[in-house]
């Protein structure tokens, strides 16, 4: 049996020691015959399934890469984001290797430059350590100085999946579930305010970037590595993301013109361009026109994210203040 590392790097563990640790996790019959011991992760394509990456003196057994679903498109593989096992305590982790990328972020018909910043995510991880509404983890530099993030694996469902599942009958969802979810939403907005107060932005607020942590029953923001150059308002893009989530939540999903047309909805004739989402012009933001039982105080908030808005939220405090006024009574 071949029992050799494919490379030869100085590590605190011998190949045999690592094999024993892997055997303790996978069982002796499943120990890989060959694997690399990696301490420099600069070339993340070199990090294969079953390799052991040593970070901060801890060996991590690499598993599959992760994928990110994006609204109906095929899931995109994220080769630099790997599932892993901490071989010391056998906990599941997500390891984000360094991938510098400049992205043309597209929001509606607007395009702007975004970068992936491991340093920003590391700074936020440090800032939110112990905060129940953020993913938890640490950042460690590998031997080449790459800022690798080691995240606690969150077992649980995405926020948008939970809402879509509950919202089959909107009126029932509205009275039975929405009050509770609005309270959760308020907590998530407060958490973003916590970042803003310390001069940081999330950078990629989307409804699939909130996970319900099954272990702790907490909702957590994930993925804070996006960054962009801001000039006039650092927090505008985050607030836009928060608005989209609220419109999705109150509507029990996106309400699009296409859906209304397909269902020959009588509400279609009542809609004007002012009622649509300011960026995604096919989504209804004035949800009261579809569901008249949406109270004025709540619809007033939604209208801040519509084409007809003349006033926008500039910070989370303003949004929270209006949220506190919302009452849903059956």
């Amino acid at each position: 049996m071949e029992t050799q590392a494919a490379n030869d790097v100085e590590t605190p563990y011998s190949f045999r020691q690592l094999q024993e640790m892997i055997a303790a996790y996978l069982g002796p019959e499943n120990v890989p015959r060959r694997f690399k011991i990696i301490t420099d992760t600069s070339d993340f394509f070199r990090v294969d399934y079953n390799d052991v990456v040593i970070l901060g003196g801890v060996p991590y057994l690499m598993r599959n890469y992760t994928r990110e679903g994006r609204f109906g498109l095929d899931d995109e593989p994220k080769y630099w984001v790997r599932k892993a096992i901490d071989l010391k305590n056998r906990e599941a982790k997500i390891i984000k290797l360094v991938f510098y990328e400049e992205i043309d972020a597209r929001v509606g018909d607007m395009v702007f430059k975004c970068v992936r910043s491991p340093g920003k995510e590391a700074a936020i991880l440090d800032m939110v350590a112990g905060h129940r509404n953020f993913m938890q983890g640490i950042a460690i530099r590998d031997t080449a100085g790459n800022i690798v993030r080691i995240l606690d694996f969150i077992q649980g469902k995405r926020f948008d999946e939970l809402i879509s599942k509950l919202a089959g009958n909107h009126e029932e969802f509205f009275y039975e579930h929405l009050p509770g979810y609005l309270a959760i939403y308020g907590k998530m907005v407060k958490a973003i305010g916590f970042l803003h107060d310390q001069g940081q932005k999330h950078g990629d607020i989307r409804r699939d970037h909130i996970l319900l942590d099954r272990k702790t029953d907490d909702y957590r923001w994930i993925d804070f590595d996006y960054d962009y150059y801001h000039a006039a308002n650092m927090f505008g893009y985050d607030l836009f993301g928060l608005g989209n989530i609220l419109v999705f939540l109150v509507g029990g999903g996106d309400i699009t013109v296409q859906q209304l047309q397909a269902n020959e909805s009588p509400h279609l004739v009542k809609l004007s361009p002012e009622d649509m989402n300011i960026i995604f012009n096919n989504r209804v933001a004035n949800i009261q026109k579809i569901y008249p039982y949406v109270p004025d105080a709540l619809n007033y908030i939604l209208l801040h994210f519509s084409n007809g808005a003349n006033l926008y939220y500039e910070n989370t405090g303003q949004l929270l203040e209006d949220l506190e006024e919302v009452r849903i009574n059956a």
């Binding site: 920003k120 893009y237 836009f240």
Partner: protein
């Protein structure tokens, strides 16, 4: 009672000190041309050309070299454009010793905050700024510097040049 016309009495500021908040855009150039055209032939005005370079967090860059390169590029561009703006004002009749040029590199949530902070420190009685003419969508996501200044600036006049 005599009125001292060299002072901005309403604002309580020390003298007729106009700040033109600029960058390298066409609308900034229009703001400078406006000030030159309207005030260049009068005595008693002091003008400060202010260019804010809003510096991102260090983590925005891969390393210090990239950050340094970004900053040098911005500074070079700012110096070039400020030289041009200064000459526009001098040609319009402002005395050389009444035109100040200031380039500041700052970290803040918005350029408007930096401009207002500088206006308060320099006690300028007027802020002049060009309007970018951005779409409603852009304003919603990225904000508008001129709108923010209109709403936030205190104890000074604000001129927004289309």
């Amino acid at each position: 009672m005599s009125i001292d016309h060299t002072k901005c009495d309403i604002t309580g500021m020390v003298e007729r000190h106009i700040m033109i908040a600029v960058d390298s855009s066409d609308n900034s150039r229009r703001a400078v041309l406006f000030v030159g055209d309207f005030f260049g032939c009068y005595e008693g005005f002091q003008v400060t050309l202010l260019h804010i370079i809003l510096e991102p967090e260090a983590t925005f860059f891969r390393d210090t070299d990239e950050r340094q390169k970004w900053l040098s590029g911005k500074l070079e561009e700012a110096k070039k454009v400020m030289d041009e703006y200064r000459h526009i004002l001098l040609d319009a009749g402002f005395p050389e010793d009444r035109v100040n040029v200031r380039i500041d590199t700052m970290q803040a949530p918005s350029v408007a905050d930096c401009i207002i902070k500088e206006q308060e420190e320099m006690k300028c009685c007027t802020i002049v700024i060009g309007r970018r003419g951005i779409s409603k969508k852009e304003e919603f996501i990225f904000g508008s510097t001129s709108n923010r200044i209109i709403h936030e600036a205190k104890k000074c006049a604000v001129l927004v040049i289309e």
